[in-house]
């Protein structure tokens, strides 16, 4: 934090002296200043202790030949609201949350967390022969907590561990199940692997920075939000996205789930710096690190576990959204957690990490119970209600599962549709060719499983 503060302070002083910008009331950031700088004449005050290098306007001269060593800088601190015992750390900051909202968040988490849904995902894969789904145990809190802090029409670009966000926004169990089974009600029309949920209704479309810029041009009161893991932050597009977001001052929230593993690769082999947060600082983006485990681990009967970081994530996301919207610039949130589940349903992570390590995390941090205790301490929730909720959730999931399972696959024509808006002549020819083949060899193709059978092509 020292690094952040001193950088900002010196930046403000430099800017004020150079009269490039009006004296900033808060730390105005590089993004906006870059644009201003390009338009203002560069003046060099006499006897200045620095030169306004266009590439580093606030760098002071020094006689000391010294390399900046990352290990000498303090790590970005991790914000938390509730400690491991479920106590609010700063009593003056009792979570500002209504009973209704707290319960909605809790119920959504339970639903997603329920081992039944988890089990169903796997089961559905077995049934469909589909093979693989990515699970998000350990990170529900990040998703639900952040969703709770966003506006319903903010544009979200999510990955496959954001089921919590979708659920919070009203994506139903049926909708989840339809996607898992790739049946005819799946919005992706059976084209994607399981867990690639999407919904136009819920504003989940790709590519957050461009979308954020569009919102900016539209002078919208919405922002764009992008979820990703720490592994994805090694890809080139992450760096390009942050840099463009900063230089074009795009109202976007980058929410990184740092869960310690990209499939098998631990963060120690993924990066050397101070997490993903330090990169936000490097790109001139307001950055905060938050305890994504702030509330919640639960043990299901089968040992299924869930971490939930909800209160701190929610509060941080609300503040970040405010900055992104009011100051029209990007903000990076690095939410720390530990992936207690395997990477996917076909991964056995004990091949690359010790079971004891996972057990240790479960023991050390048990936030779901703590959130329940916190709810109970406010007399908002009871043991009986919890029991009822869990039973009801299981019933609902089983019903949705049964409904989705018996639905047919999308009609065969969907193989060729949506490549272009209108199928090309090539595709029409190829559709006709497949029709001919199926008609000439009717015994070779079983189209029963597909909507409308042969007529579906």
């Amino acid at each position: 934090m020292v690094l952040l503060t001193s950088l900002r302070a010196s930046f403000c002083v430099g800017v004020a002296r150079a009269r490039l910008l009006p004296p900033p009331s808060t730390a105005r950031y590089f993004a906006s200043s870059v644009i201003a700088r390009q338009n203002a004449p560069m003046k060099q005050p006499p006897h200045s202790d620095s030169v306004l290098f266009p590439g580093a306007v606030n760098s002071k001269f020094t006689h000391e030949l010294k390399f900046q060593r990352p290990q000498d800088l303090p790590a970005i601190p991790t914000y938390r609201l509730i400690d491991t015992h479920g106590e609010v750390v700063d009593k003056s900051r009792e979570p500002d949350i209504s009973q209704e909202l707290a319960l909605k968040m809790y119920k959504d988490m339970i639903t997603r967390a329920d081992k039944f849904l988890y089990g169903m995902e796997i089961w559905s894969l077995h049934l469909s022969g589909a093979g693989n789904a990515n699970v998000s145990a350990g990170e529900e809190g990040i998703a639900v907590g952040s969703a709770a802090a966003l506006a319903p029409d903010d544009v979200i670009f999510s990955q496959y561990r954001e089921q919590g966000v979708m659920m919070y926004r009203g994506f139903t169990l049926d909708e989840f199940m339809n996607q898992l089974f790739a049946n005819k009600f799946d919005y992706g029309k059976g084209k994607n692997m399981p867990i690639h949920y999407m919904s136009e209704r819920l504003h989940m479309i790709p590519h957050s920075v461009g979308a954020a810029y569009a919102l900016k041009l539209d002078q919208s009161s919405r922002i764009a939000v992008c979820f990703f893991g720490e592994g994805a932050a090694s890809e080139g597009d992450f760096h390009a996205a942050l840099n463009i977001a900063a230089t074009r001052s795009c109202p976007v929230l980058f929410i990184c789930r740092n869960n310690g593993f990209a499939i098998s690769t631990p963060t120690l082999e993924q990066y050397k710096g101070d997490g993903i947060g330090s990169r936000g600082v490097g790109y001139g983006i307001d950055t905060i690190r938050v305890d994504g485990n702030d509330v919640g681990v639960t043990f299901g009967e089968s040992g299924f576990i869930l971490y939930i970081g909800i209160m701190a994530v929610r509060e941080v996301t609300m503040r970040a959204r405010d900055i992104a919207l009011k100051e029209q610039k990007p903000v990076l949130i690095e939410a720390m957690s530990y992936r207690v589940s395997h990477h996917s349903t076909s991964d056995d992570s004990f091949a690359y990490r010790a079971k004891v390590e996972v057990e240790d995390w479960k023991r050390r941090d048990n936030p779901i119970t703590r959130m329940r205790k916190w709810l109970e301490s406010k007399s908002w929730w009871s043991g009986e209600q919890d029991q009822e909720l869990r039973i009801q959730v299981r019933k609902d999931i089983l019903k949705a599962f049964a409904r989705a399972e018996k639905e047919k696959k999308p009609a065969l024509e969907n193989l060729f549709l949506d490549v272009y808006k209108v199928p090309s002549r090539d595709l029409e020819e190829q559709m006709a060719e497949l029709r001919r083949i199926i008609d000439e060899y009717p015994d070779e193709y079983d189209l029963e499983a597909f909507d409308r059978g042969r007529e579906g092509l």
Binding site: I122, W123, L127, G190, E235, Y271, D348, I437, Y441
Partner: protein, 393 residues
């Protein structure tokens, strides 16, 4: 063996439930579209003697050696072990390779060769290939793994704009080339990979000069071609059909050996039509050739292209000049696929001998859709139909 992290192995249901399938196959007597039975394929060596009879270009000096029943990914692992043992300057790196990789091809190598030679990289394909080029140009043998061929595209700039033209732009400099790089990647459909785990992007390499692209069809082939690639002078991309990693099992020679890169192989001699395939599709071609014999009385010559870039025009030309007919089979989409290249060359080289236009049986011009993979990938019926149309032209 205990599987740890194989995204596409078929999962056994925890509860005994009837299994639904995506495939177009309706099992039944006399049907052609049934799942490939690799254990009876005549293109795989099920006994030691078959190994040397089938793989005719295995070097003479190993022909008296022992063999071992080995699946495809273990054969790749064996080859990597041999390369690492015989070449001190060889290294393996990529996403998740140090614990064995998601398809287990690099299992147990870290234990034997240490973490300075086998290591995980950050998740960046562009970085992985750029890093490999630098090592290669510095005298090291770089064996990077791209986790799925579908993830190749962030690295495409490094492959196309750097690796492929490095030797050319340096005027053939001794060191300044990417010739000691072999990029391995799992490719093609598994039946449930969908848009981002079942693609066959080999066609993109048709526009790339200076890089060799190899698609081995079996464990024996995978081992020999990988060792040859690592010892060759040019950058090689090896695309390993991921469905074969466990399904294809052969008696593989224990000794080290190389198989020729750039050469196709005639798997089955015939007189009426030439079937050109590679990777998984050679087994579909095998079944279609059998059906053509039984149902149409047609004798098909089946050729595995093996190296798809630059591919072996001589072997194909010789065959088509003999049969007068040619059918090309691949999973990748029709447009921009190998079929265009083969058909183009064949009509130029064999025009006067051709009795029918070259027929292509390929994936459609769509992305790879999960629920319809069975309709996208050419099946036995479609290949047989292609043969029939070619014969009846």
């Amino acid at each position: 063996m205990k599987n740890s992290l194989l995204p596409f192995r078929s999962l056994r249901p925890a509860i005994n439930v009837p299994r639904r399938r995506y495939t177009t196959v309706s099992p039944g007597a006399g049907r052609l579209n049934v799942p490939t039975d690799y254990s009876t394929s005549s293109y795989l060596a099920h006994t030691p003697s078959q190994t040397y009879n089938l793989h005719t270009d295995l070097p003479k000096h190993i022909r008296s050696g022992k063999t071992k029943r080995t699946n495809y990914f273990t054969a790749v692992n064996d080859a990597l072990r041999i390369i690492l043992t015989t070449d001190d300057k060889s290294l393996i790196f990529g996403e998740d390779v140090s614990f064995g990789g998601v398809f287990r091809c690099t299992s147990n190598l870290t234990d034997s060769f240490g973490s300075s030679r086998i290591f995980n990289t950050p998740l960046s394909e562009q970085g992985i290939i750029g890093f490999a080029i630098g090592l290669s140009a510095s005298g090291y043998t770089a064996l990077p793994e791209i986790q799925f061929a579908d993830y190749l595209f962030p690295a495409f700039d490094q492959l196309h704009n750097e690796a492929s033209k490095m030797r050319y732009r340096s005027g053939g400099a001794e060191m300044f080339n990417a010739g000691r790089m072999v990029v391995r990647m799992p490719t093609s459909a598994v039946g449930h990979g969908g848009l981002y785990h079942s693609q066959s992007p080999e066609g993109f390499f048709l526009g790339m000069q200076g890089v060799i692209v190899v698609i081995p069809r079996s464990p024996v082939q995978a081992k020999g071609l990988l060792i040859a690639a690592a010892r060759g002078a040019d950058p090689v991309v090896i695309m390993e059909p991921k469905i074969l990693y466990r399904a294809a099992v052969e008696e593989v020679p224990l000794e080290e050996y190389e198989l020729p890169i750039g050469k196709a192989e005639v798997l089955q001699v015939g007189t009426d039509v030439t079937l050109v395939a590679y990777g998984t599709m050679v087994y579909v071609a095998e079944a279609a050739a059998r059906a053509a014999k039984e149902r149409l009385g047609v004798s098909a010559e089946v050729i595995d292209l093996r190296t798809v870039r630059p591919w072996d025009k001589e072997t194909i030309t010789k065959s088509v000049n003999k049969t007068g007919r040619c059918v090309v089979v691949h999973e990748a989409s029709r447009t921009g696929g190998m079929g265009e290249s083969v058909a183009g060359e064949v009509q130029e080289r064999c025009f006067l001998r051709l009795e029918a236009p070259v027929t292509r049986v390929t994936g459609w011009d769509t992305p790879m859709p999960l629920a319809f993979e069975g309709f996208m990938v050419p099946d036995v019926v479609r290949v047989l139909d292609g043969i029939k149309r070619t014969m009846e032209y």
